[in-house]
């Protein structure tokens, strides 16, 4: 695996302009490596050698990042600052076949494929963190240097009968049910659609905050 920038390191992707030597192959497939990227990590220099296609994915991930905050328009130090760690799941060391299989895996709820996530740098729904847990784990460790949340937690208890260990994943199941309902309607399977609708209502009722919760102090 590329153990790319650890948190706090400067990750300056840089094409050296070298052309491919005769023996150098892409670190991810058998194609010739035509991009030679130098990562600077806390004083250490690490080189990544990739074919054009994998380089595009790699650099695209390196430029992923924070998204918008007001008044945070231009990064002075530019690319790699935040998204550098996103190169983690690229999986140098994994075979092209492994990656092809991984890329096709998709979320049971929102339907996003791992390939789409790798390209966009954005997940599709909260369930992705569970669906792709194994793949996200090293990536998140790269970005944050940690894989366990130690901060604040929601004060509201989960509904009765729901496993607290799964967080709000039970509520996120609605996303999959909604998708299933639409598909059922489109194939005119109204019985399934109705079942999905009822299931959605059941979950919504269980998770709805007590009716007056927000109004007590209003």
């Amino acid at each position: 695996m590329i153990q790319s920038s650890s948190p706090g390191t400067v990750c300056a992707g840089e094409r050296t302009g070298r052309t491919c030597g005769d023996a150098m192959k892409c670190q991810q497939c058998d194609n010739p490596a035509v991009f030679h990227i130098t990562e600077l990590e806390a004083g250490n220099v690490r080189e990544v050698h990739l074919c054009e296609e994998h380089a595009r994915v790699y650099l695209n991930q390196s430029e992923g990042g924070d998204g918008g905050d007001p008044g945070e328009p231009g990064a002075v130090e530019g690319k790699g600052q935040k998204g550098g760690g996103l190169s983690g799941p690229l999986g140098v060391g994994q075979t092209a076949e492994d990656l092809a299989v991984l890329d096709k895996r998709c979320c049971d709820m929102c339907g996003i494929t791992f390939f789409e996530f790798r390209n966009q740098g954005r997940l599709g729904c909260p369930h992705d963190y569970l669906q792709f847990e194994k793949e996200l784990d090293p990536l998140i460790a790269n970005i944050h240097g940690a894989t366990e949340h130690t901060g604040r937690r929601p004060s509201r208890p989960v509904p009765e009968g729901v496993d607290a260990g799964s967080g709000t994943d039970g509520l996120t199941a609605i996303i999959g049910l909604r998708r299933g309902m639409k598909e059922a309607i489109s194939r005119e399977d109204y019985e399934s659609a109705k079942e999905s609708r009822d299931a959605i209502r059941g979950i919504e009722d269980a998770w709805t905050p007590p009716a007056k919760a927000g109004e007590e102090n209003a």
Binding site: P73, E77, G167, A213
Partner: protein, 358 residues
């Protein structure tokens, strides 16, 4: 709410007061949150976005967040109004340029801003004048707690608050300060400072910089990681480094005054002279000159100009603000209009905050 009412006011964070406000322009904390029952924004259908916007708008309106909020339907705003909100730091560029149902709830002091359907369903921001990270953090906790009473934020015991981008997962917190560091720029020490900041996991960005260039010596320092440490620790991480940067900048300013006073006085006076007399001036040059004048005011080289006036001009000379201030007059170019506005301001006749400059 009518945006025109904002045109004639300035946000609380621009008033140029608060601890160390000679160097720290503002302190900001933001939290990224998502509703558990909807796909993240980039994966959401038009209907999902509309539903998310409606649920958040209605539920936020039903809880007391400590401030009276006005809601702006960003999805139906003209482009100039969206840019206007970006210039005031109430919404992000991404939010302004996005598609579909989205909005922002803000309070009258422009301290609290709740962006709906940005990259995440909800981005809560608290912006304070001067160095007041702990004040901003205490305020945002109240807002977050109140909203959490009415919605189910996507959360997992191991990963924390779940966000569209893994770079924000966990606490979802971004803590930042906007610093004015002209002396470190002039003495060419700024790059060294940035390199040290990177080593301790802090990011540096510019204010209104297009692409990679910071304008006017204004820099934003923020945390990069959001997981594995508590919010208090992450606030403290940024808070700890600010006094060091303030000290560097003060020392650099002292050095300039001590060793090159004539030179600095000349630079500052020329900057002031250009701002008062130019017939056409770009946004970038204006920021640069205002930065010099701001330093001159703080070094006592220019009298009669208030810090809040300079802060206000930094925002009011931005393109969308200028366009709104001049109304329907499309005849003159931005640069001509900007120069005209500056001249009028420094003549003392056209300052909404009553210019005391001469």
């Amino acid at each position: 709410m009518r945006l025109d009412t904002l045109t004639n006011s300035i946000g609380e964070w621009l008033r140029g007061t608060g601890p160390d406000s000679d160097i720290v322009m503002s302190s900001r904390v933001r939290l990224a949150r998502n509703l558990a029952q909807f796909p993240f924004v980039s994966r959401a259908t038009e209907q999902d976005r509309a539903d998310t916007e409606r649920v958040l708008r209605e539920r936020i309106a039903a809880v007391p967040v400590g401030r009276e909020l006005d809601y702006i339907d960003v999805g139906h705003l003209e482009e100039i109004d969206r840019r206007f909100l970006v210039e005031r730091q109430l919404i992000s560029r991404e939010h302004a340029d996005a598609q579909g149902a989205r909005g922002v709830a803000i309070d009258r002091l422009e301290q609290v801003s709740l962006m709906i359907n940005e990259e995440d369903h909800l981005r809560i921001q608290c912006l304070h004048s001067g160095l007041d990270l702990h004040g901003a953090w205490e305020q945002i906790k109240v807002v977050d707690d109140q909203i959490e009473r009415a919605v189910s934020y996507a959360f997992h015991p191991r990963w924390g608050y779940l966000t569209a981008c893994p770079t924000n997962v966990g606490t979802g917190i971004r803590v930042s300060v906007m610093l004015h560091l002209p002396a470190l720029v002039i003495t060419r020490q700024i790059d060294k400072v940035f390199r040290s900041l990177h080593k301790i996991s802090l990011a540096v960005r510019g204010l209104y910089g297009e692409g990679s260039q910071a304008m006017g010596d204004f820099y934003q320092i923020s945390n990069q990681t959001t997981l594995g440490r508590t919010e208090d620790e992450l606030v403290q991480q940024v808070a700890d480094v600010v006094p060091v940067l303030i000290d560097y900048e003060r020392r650099a300013r002292d050095f300039l005054v001590r060793e090159t006073q004539q030179n600095v006085h000349d630079q500052v006076s020329r900057a002031y002279g250009i701002l008062r007399t130019a017939q056409t001036i770009s946004n970038e040059e204006t920021m640069q000159l205002l930065s010099r004048v701001r330093m001159g005011v703080l070094l006592g080289l220019i009298g009669d100009v208030k810090l809040s006036d300079i802060n206000s001009l930094l925002i009011r000379t931005q393109p969308a603000h200028l366009q709104k201030l001049r109304g329907g007059d499309e005849d003159s170019s931005d640069d001509i209009e900007r120069a005209r506005y500056l001249r009028r301001h420094f003549e003392g006749g056209d300052s909404p905050s009553r210019a005391t400059a001469n």
